[in-house]
Symmetry: C2
Subunit: 274 residues, 2 copies
């Protein structure tokens, strides 16, 4: 399959393990459900050099989209737009439309009594400094707008790191673009739990199902039950042109793997996780 999407998460807090990368999971799930594949997720620190290197490497893979998270705020270490500008060899410049969005936010903060007057201080103007030839994406929740631009046929979208802001901009401005790029493709997934059979014994059975169902992706997730017995979750998924085809494909593989597991003495039941 062609490269479709790369996600680049910017933030030292991710590299020191201070926080778990829920943004990457949220985006990956939404994008998959909308019908595109995420091919790679990259996490790098708040450094212009690291960000620009990661963007350049991702552009070289020629995905349809690159989405970044984090580093759009007003502080010194919010460097994502500088990194993107460097990667694309473009200047950073104040975007009038973005500046209007930022100003509008502070106007509302004044109305709400949170600040006394609108002062477009350098940290505030910074949020409106975009790489040349970019457009801002409105932020329904916070102050810093998202950013969208194109380079060599790759659409690059920068979203904030605060989850509520990232999700709001994605849903409003990015999801429709992805849906259009995906066309009518649908994703379908299901899981079953298999007990009392070891993963190494299930392996040849899974191989047979994969062979017989070339469009279904089957993955086994081993773990232990409380009593130390082997426990497997089998996750089956596919993308297809419509939901009926997708569901039928997965169902056929599910029936086959269930029968094979039971023939080998495995106990199966629908999985609680999706």
């Amino acid at each position: 399959m062609a490269q479709q999407m790369e996600i680049i998460c910017v933030g030292n807090e991710l590299l020191i393990g201070k926080v778990v990368n829920t943004n990457a999971q949220w985006l990956a799930k939404r994008i998959t459900t909308l019908g595109l594949s995420v091919n790679r997720i990259t996490v790098i620190g708040d450094s212009v050099k690291e960000i620009s290197a990661a963007i350049r490497e991702a552009v070289r893979h020629k995905p349809q989209f690159i989405i970044t998270t984090g580093g759009l705020g007003p502080t010194f270490d919010d460097k994502t737009l500088e990194g993107i500008a460097k990667a694309l060899s473009r200047p950073l410049e104040v975007n009038p439309q973005a500046l209007k969005m930022v100003e509008e936010k502070y106007r509302r903060y004044v109305e709400e009594g949170r600040i006394e007057k609108i002062e477009l201080t350098p940290p505030r103007v910074k949020m409106a400094k975009l790489p040349a030839e970019s457009n801002p994406l409105p932020n329904p929740v916070g102050t810093a707008p998202g950013v969208i631009t194109k380079s060599n046929g790759v659409t690059i979208i920068a979203l904030p790191g605060v989850p509520s802001e990232m999700e709001a901009i994605f849903d409003k401005s990015v999801a429709p673009l992805i849906k259009r790029a995906a066309g009518n493709v649908t994703f379908y997934e299901t899981s079953i739990d298999v007990d009392e059979i070891m993963e190494s014994d299930m392996a040849p059975l899974i191989d047979r199902v994969i062979h017989d169902n070339p469009y279904v992706y089957v993955k086994s997730h081993p773990s232990r039950t409380g009593e130390g017995k082997p426990h497997l979750e089998l996750h089956l998924s596919t993308t297809a042109e419509n939901s009926t085809t997708a569901k039928n494909r997965v169902s056929k593989a599910l029936i086959q793997i269930t029968e094979l597991a039971q023939m080998k003495g495995g106990k199966t039941k629908p999985s609680k996780t999706k």
Copy 2:
């Protein structure tokens, strides 16, 4: 700072957002605490081509270590060792020591009555097929051994994706290597919460503290309180040759940022998260 560590997580379940990448967070936190910096985390799918490309790119960055997670099991889609072998242009071959480890595990499973006899089926032998010039790392919890090898001065370590197995191999065999590579370097971190001041107003104050404390890394994490008021968590961290120096450095920066925030009308208190 030189490149020290890259983490590569293998697994389609991460790219479709089925699971959140807790392995990356666990590793990043442990490695940081042991005194090395994680420079990049990459997530790719269960594809030999993707894995070998990611390994090659990481080797080109010349970190001291590359740690991979996932893809060491017995099933067809466990492809990490094949990907590493391809990246390093080495054959995969049965490693006698690894085969002994796998055999020993199944001997124990027979003793525990979980299987009837030791049969070294192809899926089981697969777990002992390592890239040439590698060594296995004992798995105290599960079946598949970890793997360690070197290429162009980069130590490459492959760990399983099941968290309990990954963590057990890391603690037993990998942590001592990282500790030795880090020397006496210690990591220290602390956080304070700042309320009633906007991030854009804190930005110039943070810049001043960063300027005055070049070895302390300061990062602001904005969010909202329930009442919609601005709330900031400031995270301060450093690595130093000993814990006293590290603590003193962070404390000095903490006092300065607290005073500056209070002068601007901010309310500060120690953060609940670390």
